[in-house]
Amino acid sequence: MIKDFEYYLPKATEQALTLFSKNSAYKAGGIDLLDLLKENIVSYDSIINLSGIDSLDFIDTEIDLKIGAGVSIQKIADSQPIQKYCPALSESASEIATPHIRNIATLGGNLCQKPRCWYFRSKDFDCSRKGGKVCFAIDGENKYHSIYGNQDGCAFVNPSGMATVLTALNARLQILTKKEIKTINLRDFYYLPAEKLTCEHKLNDGEILLSVTVEKENLLRKNYYCKIKEKQSSDWPIAEICIIGGINSLGNFENVSIVLGSAAPIPWRMIKEEKKLEGLQATTKYIGNVVESSFSDANPLRDNAYKVKLFRTLLYRGLCSIAGLESER
């Protein structure tokens, strides 16, 4: 049962900031927060609804691409500038959940949502991420769990599709604290379980995510995004990839960034592969070589080794797509 709480609907971020006290939570769309409350996974004394704050709801393309944390997922999917400058972001937005949820859920909530691991989400399991002693997934039902970053007592996968894309786009987050507006790189935003076990990201209590910025140089580049789901209606990914990159005048890969979703507790960058690709001639043979040698460092659990095969396909298809080649796989 949901414990009674105070409820606030501030009109400005500064007001929200001052309303925040010891056991408060911000609510944006509430899609995730209310689920957690209803399942008795969290409980708060006060809930501060951010959805009345207009200043969080904007898309700005004047210099860089800047999106307010309060913009709905559907708005991101439908935005013409976003479709033009970074199509992977609008694609990932349009693939999330259901139309109903996309209309309500926000960018900020999508980036800050809690893990969807079924052990974490069930009151019946006192798991490590809820402060308990064990990760039930490691020896349990782990088909949908991580293949990277799962050796430190927790095996969930980062659930945010847009985080996958925005990590590839090297986005920055603007965060309002009591003192200032600070900036954090999305690539540094999430914690691995080894760093923190019960907290997923670096937003401190009371801080408000204002906006997400993708710098100009990362717009209008080649984009590839693919989300694989078991079923096509409103399903979570079993694997997701975003590749942002370019091919230079010699036909070589240049400045490629590759990020996997549903692979690890954080959006998983393939830094080694990015390096291997730098300056490499973009042919199916070379792409094949890079793909063959990748994933040797993955640590699949009993039921999710299939993800490695799947990611290989996605990596191959993605690189071919960036290179403008037909994929044979």
Partner: protein, 768 residues
């Protein structure tokens, strides 16, 4: 007194005339030559607008002043014994009216995680929830088993220390069983034919020219109806009990409640005005119904007990899984000689895991041998589920048939054809389906398509049975204003029976369906069928037509007296009554009705046995489905592009609701084939996906193009000639999809659900 009628029976383009004998008070059956206004046409649901606008009130929506909200406390461990329960703290909570244990006396043996321990009734659902947390108990836990393989091991922990009697409902096929042995966690085997000798049979099989043997697995599927199980019970101070129930058998709820509390049937009234699906799991009062009644009796207030989604997944039914070893022996030419099935399956703490329907009833064979057993595990009980045993059985049989065809080098459809030669309905279905589907365009060599995205075609047969019960009583009334009602206790599980009843009465009286008031879903309305075994339409429609016919005769008699003629001189055109000698003299329906003595004509008719004195009628309901799928071999994702479904089901009543049943059956079949799976945590026995997020069900984007061919098959065995379709349509879908996947990629997936991880593993295995 019987009369003789000449009727045309068979398929529309191949009708034969036969003479049948029918009771004097029944109309000539609708047959292949009847020209009708509504029956067999596409008529929209009479309650469609009410349902889509929310005006329709389901049990879930029932709110009565003073009503309490009840909830269950469930065990979070799969096996153990509760020796003491302390309800006192919960009882003292403000707003709590009553707290009762789920079982009157202790100890309470817990056999699965999710089993009910106690129930609370409180002013609000929130208070009830809080009270649950105040209940404490003393318990011990014990070892448990979660899979068939583990349960049949030597020294496996026993789910039951005692012998279990099979519990069946109107949804199950046969409730009679001869002595079945129970040893360890295995209940069975049931052997068919009972006198067959296993070794002799094996000798026979071994001597067949070509033999195929393989093992097939299916998963546990939960019913997941939109509306969860539940009731609102109002126990009156006069000990008369009124129950609103989300049920597919109003009378079975009444009987359970009356039997349990030793009440008169006449003092229990069950109402199901609208219901959000059942699929076989909603017969009888259930523990939730009994507990709600106890709580209502204890508090003197109406009590609502609707399960939440988690309770729904855990405790009120599922389709058992199966592990089927199937063998086929044929001649070199492909004639089936021997069929053998060894089937194990688990209905959790329940029974009903048999899968042998398809293997016994589809193909011609010389010899058959079946052994099927229920295996107990520490999981929620199974319940009848849309064609119990048949989707499982068809998944194994129809893939095995395909594999055999492949082995013999015969086209899978041709192989089916030459082994069902005695069944002319099937023979016709193959031709119609293949043509519509474009079977000849299929990939001749499985897996041969170039590139990572591969398309394949598959086919599978289904079988179901013509089932009906007797004694249902339909009432038709016509009052002095000419208003017409049809009345019966039958509930509409969602198939649209109310619309069909209106159509039948309208057809018989020359009126329009929306002129007929339909009163159903109430045990005070006369005995009606439970919606199990696909018998609702077959069960109730003859009684309704016969009642409407009797009402019509009364109207004709009345018209005759007004016209001053004998009844044989009165003709009826639409709803007008004319003087046969002088057509210009005619009376409208209203004009005749106005002369009804007293207030109304009220007639009843009963569902009797089908017509006697004629050749045996065909009692299987056949079907064949064709699937077109695309498999992405790089990701393992299967997409169903198209299903063509050919089914017979007697004489179609409302073709629109009939098609809806087929669509629904296919969608549920796709969901079973590719997505649904109850997943128990292997270490704790707790279901990890008791919701509709991670318990995956096909949604709009997963629905392919569906084309149906409905064969009008007239047997004139009673006044309407309807048979059933609700169950048949879901039987062959998963097998057709699996066969199409094989055709696409050249690898067999013998385990459901066919998920990407399994496809990728199978492809890797093949490439080794």
């Amino acid at each position: 007194m019987n009369k003789k009628e000449k009727v045309s029976v068979g398929l529309p383009d191949n009708l034969r005339e036969i003479i049948i004998e029918i009771p004097e008070d029944e109309p000539k059956p609708w047959d292949g030559k009847s020209e009708l206004n509504y029956i067999g046409k596409r008529v929209k649901r009479i309650d469609g607008i009410d349902k889509t606008t929310g005006k329709a009130k389901y049990t879930f929506d029932v709110k009565i002043p003073g009503m309490l909200y009840a909830k269950f406390l469930r065990s979070d461990f799969p096996a153990g014994t509760i020796s003491e329960i302390d309800l006192s703290k919960a009882q003292k909570l403000k707003g709590v009216y009553s707290v009762l244990p789920a079982q009157d006396d202790l100890p309470l043996i817990i056999r699965y995680a999710g089993q009910e321990i106690a129930a609370v009734a409180a002013e609000t659902a929130e208070i009830a929830e809080t009270a649950l947390q105040q209940i404490t108990f003393k318990h011990t836990t014990s070892d448990f088993v979660l899979s068939v393989e583990d349960a049949i091991r030597e020294n496996a922990p026993l789910v039951y220390q005692t012998t279990v009697k099979e519990k069946t409902t109107e949804g199950d096929l046969d409730s009679s069983e001869s002595s079945v042995v129970q040893e360890g966690n295995i209940r069975g085997p049931k052997i068919f034919p009972e006198d067959e000798n296993a070794e002799k049979f094996d000798d026979y099989l071994r001597n067949c020219e070509v033999i195929h043997t393989a093992e097939y697995r299916t998963q546990v599927q939960t019913h997941s109806a939109m509306e969860t199980h539940g009731v609102v019970v109002e126990w009156g101070s006069d000990d008369k009990v009124k129950v609103w129930a989300s049920t597919q058998g109003t009378f079975s709820v009444r009987n359970d409640i009356a039997d349990y509390f030793k009440l008169k049937y006449n003092d229990v009234r069950v109402i199901t005005e609208f219901m959000g699906g059942g699929f076989g799991a909603k017969f009888g009062a259930g523990l939730y119904g009994i507990m709600a009644a106890k709580l209502s009796r204890a508090t003197g207030k109406p009590v609502r007990l609707m399960l939440d989604r988690k309770g729904e997944h855990l405790s009120v039914g599922n389709r058992p899984d199966s592990l089927q070893k199937l063998s086929i022996g044929t001649t070199k030419e492909g004639k089936i000689k021997a069929l053998k099935l060894i089937s194990l399956g688990t209905g959790g703490v329940g029974t009903g895991a048999g899968t042998s329907g398809p293997i016994k009833n589809i193909y011609d064979y010389e010899k058959i041998y079946v052994e099927e057993s229920d295996v107990f595990i520490n999981a929620g009980p199974a319940a009848a589920f849309r064609a119990p045993g048949h989707p499982q059985g068809a998944f194994a049989l129809e893939q095995a048939i395909d594999e055999m065809a492949h082995k013999l080098g015969i086209d899978p459809l041709e192989f089916r054809r030459i082994n069902t030669t005695g069944n002319y309905i099937r023979q016709t279905q193959y031709v119609l389906g293949a043509e519509k589907f474009g079977w000849d365009k299929r990939n001749q060599v499985p897996g041969s398509i170039k590139g990572p995205i591969k398309r394949g075609f598959g086919v599978a047969n289904s079988v179901w049975y013509y089932i009906y019960n007797k004694g249902f009583v339909a009432t038709v009334t016509i009052n002095r204003r000419g208003e017409v009602q049809v009345i019966n206790g039958v509930q509409d599980i969602g198939g649209g029976i109310g619309t069909v009843l209106a159509m039948i009465v309208a057809e018989e009286l020359g009126l329009e369906p929306d002129q007929i008031t339909v009163k159903i879903g109430d045990t005070d309305n006369g005995f009606g069928p439970a919606s199990g075994g696909s018998q609702t339409t077959a069960g109730i429609t003859p009684a309704v037509r016969n009642a409407a016919y009797k009402a019509k005769i009364r109207m004709i008699e009345l018209a005759a007296s007004i016209l001053g003629k004998t009844t044989d001189k009165v003709t009826m055109e639409g709803s007008r009554f004319s003087d046969g000698d002088d057509i210009s003299k005619s009376l409208s329906f209203q004009q005749v009705a106005a002369k009804i003595p007293g207030d109304e004509i009220r007639v009843t008719a009963e569902r009797r046995s089908d017509n006697l004195g004629r050749e045996e009628i065909k009692t299987t309901i056949d079907g064949v489905q064709f699937a077109d799928v695309t498999v992405d071999t790089g990701t393992g994702v299967v997409k169903v592009n198209r299903i063509v479904a050919v089914h017979d089901c007697g004489r179609p009543m409302d073709r629109l609701t009939l098609e809806s049943q087929i669509n629904g059956g296919i969608i549920q079949g796709i969901s079973y084939a590719l997505y649904e799976n109850r997943i128990l945590d292997r270490n704790t026995g707790i279901m990890v996906n008791p919701n509709l997020e991670m318990y995956k069900i096909a949604g709009a984007r997963d629905v392919p193009q569906i084309e149906t061919i409905i064969m009008d098959f007239n047997q004139a065995m009673n006044s309407t000639g309807a048979m059933g379709i609700g169950e048949p349509a879901t039987i062959p879908t998963s097998a057709a999809i699996a066969n199409a996947v094989f055709n696409a990629i050249g690898v067999r997936l013998r385990s459901l659900p066919i998920t990407p991880d399994k496809i990728l593993a199978a492809l890797e295995e093949q490439s080794k």
